[in-house]
Symmetry: C2
Subunit: 218 residues, 2 copies
């Protein structure tokens, strides 16, 4: 059985932004502040470093109730570290192959930022993907290659296709507490710098939760 996923406030980690404070401590504070899912992402780490980082974050999450842990891209690391799932982008291993490696009991997230990418996502066999990351909502300095933003309306239109197919959706790209309320039509929002670069990650998470309100589906 796949782990439960509450995508309301989904933190994607950034080792460089975390700096000396370290990713695990930021995750601890952010979860205390209301983060509901965590993805460990570090495109520059060696696989051994990513494995160690994932284990450290998993340890932080062990005391929480149902905060799902994803690993970006590295299926082998996710399997070894006992993560709840993997998140892949369009340049990573193909979704059907990743699902084959993951087996039925882990979550798979996939990024989709255009009608074509969403159509490809929805053409996958049912049960391949669990959650679709839609964006960027706005252009973002943490992912300069992600292109200009789709805007909240563009994201909501793409997300509607995924939700009609029964998939969870999260919006990503340039979201912070001031902008979060403008993001609608998704099951949750992803943030990177709004928490990882915040002076107080716990307070930043609380501010985001407050801005998002209490609706289970936005």
């Amino acid at each position: 059985m796949r782990p439960a996923l509450d995508p309301t406030l989904y933190l994607v980690t950034d080792t460089a932004l975390a700096g000396a404070r370290g990713v695990p401590d930021i995750v601890r504070a952010a979860v205390a502040g209301g983060v509901t899912a965590v993805q460990v992402r570090d495109k520059t780490a060696s696989r051994r470093e990513l494995y160690a980082l994932t284990l450290a974050v998993r340890e932080v999450l062990a005391g929480t109730s149902g905060v799902a842990l994803f690993v970006n891209d590295a299926v082998d690391v996710a399997l070894l570290a006992g993560a709840d799932g993997v998140h892949i982008g369009q340049d990573d291993l193909p979704p059907a192959e990743v699902r084959a490696l993951l087996g039925p009991d882990r979550l798979l997230g996939l990024s989709a930022g255009s009608d074509a990418e969403m159509a490809a996502t929805l053409a996958l066999p049912p049960g391949t993907v669990d959650v679709v990351g839609v964006g960027p909502v706005w252009s973002t300095p943490t992912k300069p290659d992600a292109g200009t933003g789709l805007g909240p309306e563009g994201v909501a239109a793409l997300a509607a296709q995924a939700r009609a197919a029964g998939l969870s959706t999260v919006a990503i790209g340039g979201i912070d507490a001031a902008r979060a309320a403008a993001v609608t039509g998704v099951d949750g929002v992803c943030v990177v710098s709004a928490i990882c670069a915040a002076p107080d990650p716990g307070a930043a998470a609380r501010a985001l939760r407050s801005a998002l309100g209490t609706a289970a589906v936005r």
Copy 2:
């Protein structure tokens, strides 16, 4: 059962050195010239690109008799692409964990370039590692971070420890046809640029095989 491995002349691919000729065509020519094992290595490729490249090389090797195919570092790609094994370095996922993911029926290679690294390798549970890459013999432009060379005597001394434990050994680092005869005490030699950068990769492989002679163990 693990695939057979003939490590006599072990090619490690380099996409940049291959250039427009492409890695698969170089592998084809090299195997025709006498290469006995191939490792797909591309540290800059996305996982999707590495997967596609590995499938292409696997297709080339399908018509050969027992040329083992390794993937560098990416266990997930190796599993998906149906490779015979994985080769890892000291900064990659830990060997015991990689073996757990690979299962018993694939080959695992590990790099060791010092007494400490060899001691750690030999301390692993039997059956974890199949082949040890020992080097660099000489310093090499294709791996500038690999340090100064151990020299043929240093490599032979390290390899002797692995061979006493029943592991296969290959020497790596700066080996070409002119230098190959100086490398002794190992079961085979690895080359990168001596084939990938050669104007005629097939002729380069033949020259290497000729220089290595016919001894099964050097």
